[in-house]
Symmetry: C2
């Protein structure tokens, strides 16, 4: 199997896993929308994620960003054949603009700095992930998360 | 109308507003669960908010905390007859323990430090709110949010 096919398969599995095992992602209509070699991106429509101001609810924007970071770590692990449980330890989000449509959360998953050999030798690893939430070419929110991967 | 009745009415309205205008809160089964004079608290059950680890999804824990802070600002405004639009500008959350059941997010809403006279004279105000997410008497997550209230 070629690398690209493996990547596509990992992404398809990830989308299924989220919708099956994190039911709120199904309600939010969260979708992986970009399969570029370097950029991992996900999105969700406004309607199920709307708030009292008729813009996207802050909790939904955060969730889209969180899962973008989670997915980036997952893809990096799949590429390196590393196995473990991903948990979010700490996160910060800054909201810059209201989101009025369908935002895209994206991160450069190939640029993650992580030593997967540590995990393979039985240690947990910490990974900092930066995600931008973009709408109409503007950054609507900036998210940074510290993910921890525990050896299985 | 006595102050306690006004407070109860504000809380009932808030619950209705969330479920009607932020549909994801209905899906999450988010409920205001504590109407103490000082503490404002909300909760949500595990089932609609579950993740791949069979614990509560990080995005749902964040959302419960976010709305607890939002509700605290709303009640403070209602008490002071201040009118404005509440938005979340910035937030941080630290996850300390997995949530395995129904957590309670709580904050001391009467202790918020805010000059509502500024809002009444047409200025926006910033409010820092700290929220603890508690399960079985342990703090499972610590949230801090910076909310901005814009004059209407």
């Amino acid at each position: 199997m070629k690398v690209d096919e493996q990547l596509k398969q990992s992404i398809d599995e990830l989308q299924r896993t989220w919708h099956e095992q994190i039911p709120i992602t199904r309600y939010m209509q969260l979708e992986i929308c970009h399969r570029h070699d370097d950029v991992f991106a996900i999105s969700a429509p406004l309607e199920p994620n709307i708030n009292v101001h008729q813009t996207m609810f802050a909790g939904s924007i955060y969730t889209v960003a969180t899962l973008c970071g989670w997915g980036a770590v997952h893809l990096s692990m799949a590429k390196q054949k590393a196995v473990g449980s991903i948990v979010l330890a700490d996160a910060n989000i800054r909201y810059r603009k209201p989101v009025k449509g369908m935002p895209i959360a994206e991160t450069m998953w190939q640029k993650l700095e992580v030593n997967w050999e540590l995990l393979k030798s039985g240690n947990k690893v910490k990974i900092n992930v930066a995600v931008n939430v973009i709408e109409n070419n503007d950054i609507a929110a900036v998210f940074t998360g510290v993910y921890v991967v525990l050896p299985k």
